[in-house]
Symmetry: D3
Subunit: 128 residues, 6 copies
Amino acid sequence: MENSRYEAGQKVMEELFSEQVRQDMKGMKDVSPDLWDMIVSFGFGDLYSRKALSLSQREIVTITSLITQGAFDQLKVHLEAALNVGLSREEITEIIIQCTGYVGFPKAVQAMQIAAEVFQENSEYSSR
Amino acid sequence: MENSRYEAGQKVMEELFSEQVRQDMKGMKDVSPDLWDMIVSFGFGDLYSRKALSLSQREIVTITSLITQGAFDQLKVHLEAALNVGLSREEITEIIIQCTGYVGFPKAVQAMQIAAEVFQENSEYSSR
Amino acid sequence: MENSRYEAGQKVMEELFSEQVRQDMKGMKDVSPDLWDMIVSFGFGDLYSRKALSLSQREIVTITSLITQGAFDQLKVHLEAALNVGLSREEITEIIIQCTGYVGFPKAVQAMQIAAEVFQENSEYSSR
Amino acid sequence: MENSRYEAGQKVMEELFSEQVRQDMKGMKDVSPDLWDMIVSFGFGDLYSRKALSLSQREIVTITSLITQGAFDQLKVHLEAALNVGLSREEITEIIIQCTGYVGFPKAVQAMQIAAEVFQENSEYSSR
Amino acid sequence: MENSRYEAGQKVMEELFSEQVRQDMKGMKDVSPDLWDMIVSFGFGDLYSRKALSLSQREIVTITSLITQGAFDQLKVHLEAALNVGLSREEITEIIIQCTGYVGFPKAVQAMQIAAEVFQENSEYSSR
Amino acid sequence: MENSRYEAGQKVMEELFSEQVRQDMKGMKDVSPDLWDMIVSFGFGDLYSRKALSLSQREIVTITSLITQGAFDQLKVHLEAALNVGLSREEITEIIIQCTGYVGFPKAVQAMQIAAEVFQENSEYSSR
């Protein structure tokens, strides 16, 4: 039963993240296997796997929360995830612009610089 | 020209907020006419009026940012706005649940209590 | 199996909170049964039930995090929980004083005022 | 020697706050005499008494920090202090407007509503 | 008319920032022309160009807000701006010290380390 | 008398930090002798030297507050201090896991990565 939560988490992580990113994230398993299990089973299994929002709506929530709390270390992989689940560059750029009115310019500027890197490294996603 | 930004803001505010809420907000005009103008012209005119995101996507950003920063005083009117622009109760509830993994339980719980009030006061929006 | 996580959560909540507080918290079950399940199963079952820290050490973490993020709405029940799991008034007061150096005076002052209320309402815990 | 820090703090508090506000603040002395001593000796004695900034410059720092961290409970007495040490209504209003670009609208709006109350209750300070 | 807001922003940016810093900032124009326009037209044109506060008072607000929210990436250019609009090293150091009481030591220490770098790189501004 | 506060601070710093870390921290003395004096006399002398909490309890407060506010630059030396005053690796790991429920995953993950570095560099502290 516990397994089903972990498996649900793994499945949604495959939709969100590239093989490489999942491999990097898994480094946490060596550091703290318990935290890793919570990330997969609760974070992705219990939360992201739920049906009431689409994955692209969930990434709007995630990106906005990361920008608002200034958690820029985690922003890059979730900007990539946003592209992977179907948000366009224009929509991602616009999420950051909308944040301006709610968090001010400094965090929006820092987010946009990270988005620029992500867009450059993921040129397979056209500008539309 | 300035007028067009203000007018665009007013127009989008009519889609987001009830007559009563707009009336209450306008109390700011007496306190600081300049801040009021910025709210309407920049906040709603320049930001919300843009096309790259739908109003319901914008309210996902707004609600998430308010929850993450603990700005619960402004949350109620934006939960109502979310209903007005087409987000369902299930989707709004789910935005708050998704926040749990990014901001922790205390802010999610406080948000859910406010959502419960909003849902009760807006019973014309069916549960689906 | 899911049941065991929920039951572990309920058991630790009985150690932390009075009957009355648990009753009040359970109001969330009507608002969002899913969030309620996560609070009990993940928050209390998965986190608080773990052995590596005592419940009084966990409440030091909780109280400090609530003060630092300004989540004063949830502080009261956790100050009571701290008393229930064996922290003295002097220790609780001191947690708040230690916070001064890390979050500044405004949040420490607000926390101390809530602590004063809690101490007054829980006079069965001597000042030791 | 300790006394000189406490006395310096008391002296600067007389410049900042009305008799009534100082009386209210002193309620903290009963709750935690040690925190009270730190507030007076360190907060006001060591910090506010220094010469490199004027008291009105210090209140710009204080008000901005309170708005940015959402510590609205302490904002009112510092808006009054700002008036007492010579900042005009226009300057206080403008501090809040300047914050808009750095913290977003929600916190600025909440601050402006508190400023409106303070201005109404302190009508002896002309709008200049 | 839009032009006048943008031009007002550009003009105040020339008072605040060196040619080099303005050049670096303008990198945002390639990333998101729309965010860049908002930064110049709203951030600098609508906010910084207003008359009710001096530019040095505005930089006290900005620096304090950046420290309080932990936005250290943007702090350096605004510490330089503070020097450019007439705040002395002593005043800037003192803003950070005053913040200690409102945000705690960790953020103040991080800010002071950045200030030390800025002072070293801008030795043309004497210590008084 | 002032001396006794500074000396108390120095004494507790010797219990918390290695010679090397204390040497690095002292770099602040050149940048701002006044902020340095406040850190030692108030931060460590007035706060950490108090008796109502043990040093290991104080480090639980400190680590939790740093994680909650995202002040990761200061986290490393305090994770080392936690080891020095007797918290085990398991307890430190658990503080971070407990934080998950109160601040969300992003800050917990970032903290755990820093803890992993600290544990590797301090292999003399067995995993117990």
